[in-house]
Amino acid sequence: MSIHSIVLTKGVPDFREGQVSFDEDGHLERGKTPTVMNPNDEHALRGALQTKVRHSGRVSVMSMGPPGYGDVLQEAMESVYADDLYLLSDRELAASDTWATAITLATGLEKLGVPDLVFAGFKTADGETGHTGPQTCWALDLPMITHVVSIDVDEAERIVRAQRLVEGDVEEIETVETELPAFIVVDPEFDTSYRTAGERLVLKDLRERTTDRAEEHEQHLTTWDHEDLNLDPDYIGLDGSPTIVSSVDPIPKPPAERDATVVDPTDEDGMSEVFEEMQPLAAGGD
């Protein structure tokens, strides 16, 4: 027996300092900002990997996006030692909102054959809606457990038992269980320590087998367009997206709390003013 898991991932702009680029109006410059795997998806990948290590089986990774997302999937393959990769990519899918994305992903999952466990991260770094996972789950009509910090799969009983944060609160954890197949939204607090030598040896096997495969990840990548998925263009992409974005306001920079005066250290007058200013502070004694 083994478990088939699939992880949903998204490529997002790399928002880290030094990577991200904004224009003068504060709009993101997509062309100048590299695309990386959504940071929260890493937790979903960790969850799927742990399931694979404990129960063997297969991990697939699926994403929807432009062909360039192949790199994101490669990253996923390297970190989770995935067996196969799926990219849903088509011009007709462009500008999908979470609803259209969920419909597309659910169709992809059905085409693949619904796996035992679907893993998703807790919201993306760009949209931050946290909707796509639950909506995909709804479209598939699967039981869903969110804010999951640990899981335990009973293969014989076809049950998944999960510990989850109640209301996202670390202090309060509840244990729930449901039948497979199930949809798991993994919390950043997810615990993936491997406490046995056996698990670590399996992990080492996976790493050794996958390093070379990830180099040639294209050979393990399947790309489906809307025709492959048998989706009506009217129900996907921009046309299939009910969300209306009225306007986008750049986030204003926080005002500086202190005024700074620049003093050239070679300027004697300026420096003596600095010392005078500091005098009362020194006299305070604390």
């Binding site: 030598a197 670590r200 040896l201």
Partner: protein
């Protein structure tokens, strides 16, 4: 309610081997060949990352096992150069007398290669993983086995920092000179400085070894150095040619280092900057790694019964390091011992009596002749006479007297001194006094040596630079050594004896500090484990609680 996890629920392997040096690798390979499910735990990020040796690896003709018996490709894949010439340099000031000890080196030697441990041990570990994985086990790096798992007072497994305890029918402590398992079992201690040597080493970049030493690519040279190089500290130096680097180092009797309050890194520098080395080192000196390790003196500490319950000790963990005069052999004995331990367990298991493995191992060490090499009877018989201060004085005075000097010259004129040095029989009975290490070689050099004409331009890096070049992954907030007594009386020696500390150096592990409270001035010793290279010296010379850092943490040697 407290939940007590029954140890029965812990993972079980037939054998668990702690440490992936040559001893652990040999044990694991032999166990795997016997079809025994074997798990190997190595605390370094990579095998070899924690391991340092001089290092010459021997394959002895008389050994029950050699490393190429177990790993046939090792010489082609993972060693440096075969050592085909072996010299002893007797030094007094700038006068040097060379003896050719190649015949001693070749005595009972099938082959002998210079090795760098990171390269060799990581290669071995890959082979070991492949072979043990087939048995259902395997090799894991980054796992620190920190002690023994006991049940009803009996050893049944190991505990680890990173993973849950592991039960096993055979537990092999191949965790090196500072074996935490051997100490936990009460089989070894860290009490007497006279039972240990400390080795310090510089790995020096040298692309043109062939030219400098006048050798072919399949040849190599070893030089040993003794005499007055080390300010009266008992010990000797060595230089071994690797493929494109040199291993240059010195090994000191720890009690002598303590007594003289000597700084090991300065003694190493005395060797590096000696004019004798100028012809090999030339103008360019590029040191790629500074390292140190504690070395057990098998004559005194090789455990004659290295086992308890299901635990067996292998290699340095059992004190199986033979340093007798110009004979320096450790790794080969660890390999023999490891394979014998594996053999012992395989037989014990076949006889349905796995508990008898330890006793069988002990018997095999004796019957195979390994123990006789580690603890030569001749040394033990002569020790009470040879190591008495009075005897040393008399012999030293005789040697340094005009009569002694004339005698020496007479002996040398017929080649007797070189022949005596070359006698393995003699080497094994050399007493641990200043006579053979300092007095005799100095007199030889003074009377028979010729002055060295070269001038050294070598400027070794400072201790700060040496530490700066090393790679560390510090376990912040979790120091692996704690000072139990910070008084200068109890722990002050560590300031000089620690190879990464020095008096008047603030960037090392140990420093002496003056604390003034309420007008009272107190000298104390303070400790910062960040620059620690995990040699274990301070565990012997200071009052500490000493354990290894967690898996993958601490220093990472790239040459070793």
């Amino acid at each position: 309610m407290e939940v007590i996890l029954m140890s029965e629920t812990y993972e079980h392997y037939e054998a668990v081997v702690v440490g992936a040096g040559p001893g652990g690798a040999a044990t694991a390979a032999k166990l795997a060949d016997e079809g025994i499910e074997t798990l190997v735990l190595e605390r370094g990020v990579d095998a070899g990352a924690k391991n340092v040796s001089g290092g010459l690896l021997y394959a002895e003709q008389s050994a029950p096992y050699t490393i190429d018996d177990l790993f046939p490709d090792i010489r082609a894949a993972a060693t440096e150069r075969p050592i085909t010439e072996y010299y002893m340099q007797n030094v007094a000031g700038e006068k040097v007398k060379e003896y050719d000890l190649t015949s001693l080196h070749e005595h009972d030697t099938a082959w002998s290669d210079a090795v760098l441990r990171r390269r060799m041990d990581s290669w071995l570990a890959e082979r070991v993983h492949e072979r043990t994985r087939e048995t259902g086990g395997g090799l894991l790096t980054g796992i620190h086995a920190n002690g023994l798992l006991r049940e009803n007072g009996e050893i049944v497994g190991v505990t680890c920092d990173e993973i849950d305890p592991i039960r096993a029918d055979l537990i092999v402590a191949a965790d090196g000179v500072n074996s935490e398992l051997a100490r936990d079992a009460g089989l070894m201690d860290w009490d007497e400085p006279e039972e240990w040597f400390q080795g310090v080493k510089a790995t020096v970049d040298m692309p043109a070894v062939d030219d400098r030493f006048g050798i072919e690519p399949d040849e190599g040279v070893a030089h040993l150095f003794s005499g007055d190089l080390f300010e009266g500290v008992r010990g000797g130096g060595f230089l071994y040619t690797n493929t494109d680097s040199l291993s240059i180092g010195a090994v000191f009797h720890l009690d002598s280092l303590v007594e003289e309050r000597a700084e090991p890194h300065e003694l190493l520098n005395a060797l590096l900057t000696h004019p004798l080395l100028a012809r090999w080192l030339g103008e360019e000196y590029t040191e790629v790694e500074y390292a140190a390790k504690l070395v057990p003196d098998s004559k005194k500490v090789a455990h004659t019964s290295p086992h308890k319950d299901r635990l067996v000790l292998v290699g340095d963990a059992a004190g199986q390091m033979q340093a007798q005069g110009p004979i320096i052999k450790g790794m080969n004995h660890a390999v023999s011992a490891g394979a014998l331990a594996a053999e012992a367990f395989a037989t014990a298991k076949r006889r349905n009596n796995p508990e008898s493995a330890g006793k069988r191992y002990e018997r095999k060490l004796k019957e195979s002749g390994v123990m006789k090499k580690l603890r030569p009877k001749r040394y033990e018989r002569l020790r009470p006479i040879g190591e008495r201060e009075k005897t040393t004085d008399v012999v030293d005075r005789l040697l340094t007297s005009p009569i002694g000097r004339v005698g020496l010259k007479a002996m040398d004129s017929i080649g007797l001194v070189e022949r005596l040095y070359s006698s393995p029989f003699m080497s094994m009975s050399i007493p641990d006094t200043r006579t053979p290490y300092v007095t005799l070689p100095t007199v030889i050099a003074e009377e028979l040596g010729a002055p060295v004409r070269d001038r050294s331009t070598v400027e070794p890096p400072s201790l700060e630079e040496r530490i700066g070049e090393l790679t560390y992954d510090t376990d912040i907030g979790n120091p692996h050594i704690r000072l139990r007594d910070s008084s200068v009386e109890a722990s002050g020696t560590a300031v000089s004896a620690c190879p990464v500390s020095a008096t008047d150096f603030g960037g090392g592990c140990y420093r002496e500090e003056t604390i003034t409270t309420n007008g009272d001035t107190k000298h104390v010793v303070s400790l910062d484990t960040q620059p620690c290279i995990e040699c274990g010296t301070c565990a012997v010379v200071a009052d500490t609680d000493w354990e290894h850092p967690g898996g993958g943490k601490g220093v990472e040697f790239t040459r070793g």
